[in-house]
């Protein structure tokens, strides 16, 4: 269940969580520095970005055509296409396919849409055993937690946490030693997972994009779990949202050249796999059945206004990695599937502003998210779009509304405004005294409760402007 509406309380807990803070402290070294290096090494980065953006805008403007084109190409190559208007449709379609195959276990490779429709608990209720195969997803499945990052789902877990989880859950496989090295943990997970790959009846993957020309679906992974998930079971189900379609494989290559680079500073993910239909005559492996579930779940509605730009998102996670708020709170505080700036824009569109109003406010508007977004999504202005909606729907607290009302009354009276600012500055300077900082300001305890406010210096901006000088 979403807890986005209690973001404030969630984030307070996150700030007090020393271990989470330690884990988040590594993000700069691991994601920010390596992205900067990798972008610097690609002289055509800006050109790729412009191409990718123009391509996605073209697709969205013709989305009906490309979706139907994808569906017919996929069906021609022997695949089955299912259309799901909402999460409930998609869950039912997937469970029906599993049941018709008499399936017992379902291996899964990482899919954010899978999280969005909460497919795992639904499959469990239906008597199936879903198994997350991406190492990070597997760890949080054992811990019974949601992912805290869209590309590094277990970023909040330490290796000691992982050792504890493996000790608790791997005893049934005869693994009873507490592990200390990360390499040992990867090996144990590999061994445990291998038999599950082989035994699975159905493999469920997401899609980084789907190709209208050929009916192919594509995934980008580093572990190889997405491939074992789809070539070993008899049935492969792909879950993709409708915004994932691109015209040709070449258009997909443009996205791939950006994706790994901005996500983690790699040139390319280890495995980029294109899958078209079921196994062919003469093939010794591969699935006998291939299903694609196309999910709308609110996206067609987003197409109507400014939020259409959000549908260019390729889920690289760069905006999370560079966000001062995400870096302070981690992903769980955001209370639903998508955290960080992209989550602050997407979540209200998918679950409703009434359940997620704090998220578009969880921003310093520093603009780094937009600067690092490979698809040029104006995240700050889309957050502002939600704030305006919040105001027009009277969703803020009375204090906030009255404060804004008072400010706008004053701002429309320039003389009085200037006098008030000058007077206010003088009062604050006097109260700050020699220390030059304030630890209590009326009506601003939200700021001063955790840190001091520097005292204003020199005359007001307007006074300086009039004099033609700059302090």
């Amino acid at each position: 269940m979403a807890t986005s509406h209690t973001f404030r309380a969630n984030s307070r807990g996150a700030l007090d969580n020393a271990q989470l803070q330690r884990a988040l402290g590594n993000m700069h070294r691991d994601f920010v520095d390596s992205r900067g290096r990798a972008v610097g090494e690609m002289p055509e980065y800006d050109a790729l970005k412009a191409d990718a953006r123009a391509m996605k805008d073209h697709v969205l403007a013709n989305l009906d055509f490309y979706l139907e084109r994808f569906a017919s190409a996929c069906e021609q190559s022997g695949g089955h296409v299912h259309w799901a208007q909402d999460a409930a449709d998609a869950r039912r379609i997937i469970l029906d396919i599993c049941k018709s195959k008499g399936a017992r276990t379902v291996t899964k490779s990482k899919s954010m849409i899978g999280e969005e429709i909460a497919i795992n608990p639904y499959l469990e209720q239906g008597g199936l055993v879903p198994i997350e195969t991406d190492l990070g997803e597997y760890i949080i499945q054992l811990a019974d937690e949601p992912p805290s990052h869209i590309t590094a789902p277990a970023i909040h877990k330490s290796k000691e946490d992982v050792a504890e989880l493996f000790l608790e859950h791997h005893g049934v496989y005869g693994k009873t030693r507490r592990l200390t090295e990360i390499g040992e943990m990867c090996d144990e997970a590999r061994e445990v997972m291998r038999s599950k790959f082989i035994a699975a009846d159905v493999g469920l993957t997401g899609a980084n994009f789907i190709v209208a020309e050929t009916g192919a679906t594509a995934i980008a992974t580093n572990e190889g779990n997405g491939d074992l998930t789809q070539i070993l079971p008899k049935t492969h189900i792909v879950l993709a949202s409708i915004d994932k379609v691109v015209p040709t494989a070449e258009d997909g290559l443009t996205l791939l050249r950006l994706l790994a680079r901005t996500a983690s500073g790699l040139e390319l993910t280890t495995y980029n796999t294109f899958s078209t239909g079921p196994r062919r005559d003469g093939d010794a492996d591969g699935p006998e059945e291939f299903h694609v579930v196309l999910l709308d779940n609110g996206r067609s509605e987003m197409m109507a206004g400014p939020l259409r730009e959000m549908l260019r998102c390729i889920r690289c996670g760069a905006c999370l990695n560079h966000c001062p708020v995400y870096k302070a709170t981690g992903g769980h505080a955001y209370g639903w599937v998508y955290p960080g700036p992209m989550g602050a824009v997407l979540t209200p569109a998918l679950i409703g502003l009434e359940k997620s109003a704090p998220l578009p406010n969880a921003s310093t508007f520093c603009g780094r998210c937009e600067a690092v977004c490979p698809m040029g999504i104006p995240l700050p202005s889309l957050m502002r779009h939600w704030r305006e909606r919040e105001f027009s729907e009277h969703r803020q607290s009375m204090n906030a509304r009255n404060g804004l009302r008072a400010w706008s009354w004053l701002a429309r009276r320039p003389k009085m405004y200037r006098w008030a600012v000058r007077f206010g500055g003088r009062v604050l300077r006097h109260r700050a005294g020699r220390a030059g900082r304030l630890n209590r300001i009326p009506l601003a305890s939200g700021w001063t409760a955790a840190r001091d406010m520097p005292s204003p210096e020199g005359p007001t901006f307007m006074d300086q402007w009039k004099k033609g000088t700059r302090a």
């Binding site: 994601f31 002289p43 055509e44 790729l48 191409d51 391509m55 013709n62 009906d64 055509f65 490309y66 190559s77 296409v81 299912h82 259309w83 190492l135 990070g136 760890i139 789902p153 277990a154 970023i155 877990k157 290796k159 990360i182 990867c186 090996d187 590999r190 291998r194 020309e213 580093n222 572990e223 779990n225 491939d227 070539i231 015209p247 040709t248 494989a249 070449e250 290559l253 443009t254 050249r257 983690s264 040139e267 390319l268 280890t270 495995y271 980029n272 796999t273 294109f274 899958s275 078209t276 239909g277 062919r280 003469g282 093939d283 010794a284 492996d285 709308d296 067609s300 509605e301 109507a304």
Partner: protein, 232 residues
């Protein structure tokens, strides 16, 4: 498609068109979009791999090694079996291999290395080493392109701990687009579809999911060894 799904499709397509503020596209617009599909836009292709073939081979090697693949190079086809068995011996790996049933691999005199135990077919869990060819090597990032089919079961790329790839130097090209254009021409010519699976593989399997520390061999091969053969 069930009627239920048909109404869901109509619902989604209708909602998309409502949001776009238009009805179905006219025949003329559809023709234009079809044309874009047939003759894909030339998106930006990074210039770095647009160099001489000799430099492309070097670039391929450099990038592949940069992501922890290993590369060896032989001048003649006759040297390939020795290059494979030497690699396996050097790393204390089993000499029993599962090899792709690919005619291209028959060009190498495997019989001269009786120590290599060779089974042809798909990979099973017990197989420790696979040997395959590849459609292309891309200099741009040291990436291999493999297509599935009777000649190349995909399990060979993912199940064994060690994946050895025999790559004739003339299969090394610059950018990914060259490989995709070749696939398109081939499938257009014989009227077939894309291969079931196209894998672009860059280095061995890896994960950074525990404390962001990179580990090789998450679920796929721990080692990827590429033997480049100069003689075509």
């Amino acid at each position: 498609m069930s009627s239920n799904s048909e109404s869901a499709r109509d619902g989604i397509i209708g909602a998309v068109r409502r949001s776009l503020g238009r009805g179905a596209l006219g025949a003329e617009s559809e023709d234009e979009l079809e044309k874009r599909l047939r003759t894909p836009d030339a998106n930006t292709i990074p210039a770095r791999s647009n160099v001489s073939h000799a430099e492309q081979v070097d670039m391929f090697t450099r990038y592949a090694e940069g992501v922890s693949a290993t590369v060896s190079r032989v001048s003649r086809a006759a040297e390939v079996p020795a290059a494979v068995s030497d690699y396996l011996a050097e790393h204390n790996l089993p000499s029993d291999v599962v090899m792709a049933p690919d005619e291209a691999l028959d060009a190498y005199p495997w019989g001269e290395r009786p120590m290599l135990g060779i089974r042809r077919g798909r990979a099973e869990d017990a197989d420790a080493v696979s040997v395959t060819g590849a459609e292309f090597g891309f200099a741009e990032t040291g990436t291999l392109m493999m297509t599935s089919g009777a000649h190349h079961p995909s399990t060979l790329n993912f199940m064994p701990d060690t994946h050895v790839v025999i790559l004739p130097a003339n299969r090394i090209v610059g950018a990914y687009e060259e490989g995709w254009q070749a696939l398109r021409e081939r499938t257009d010519a014989d009227g077939t579809f894309m291969p079931r699976t196209v894998n672009m593989i860059t280095g061995p399997s890896r994960t950074g999911d525990i404390e962001q520390r990179m580990q090789l061999g998450a679920h796929g091969p721990r080692r990827l060894h590429i033997v480049i053969v100069d003689e075509a």
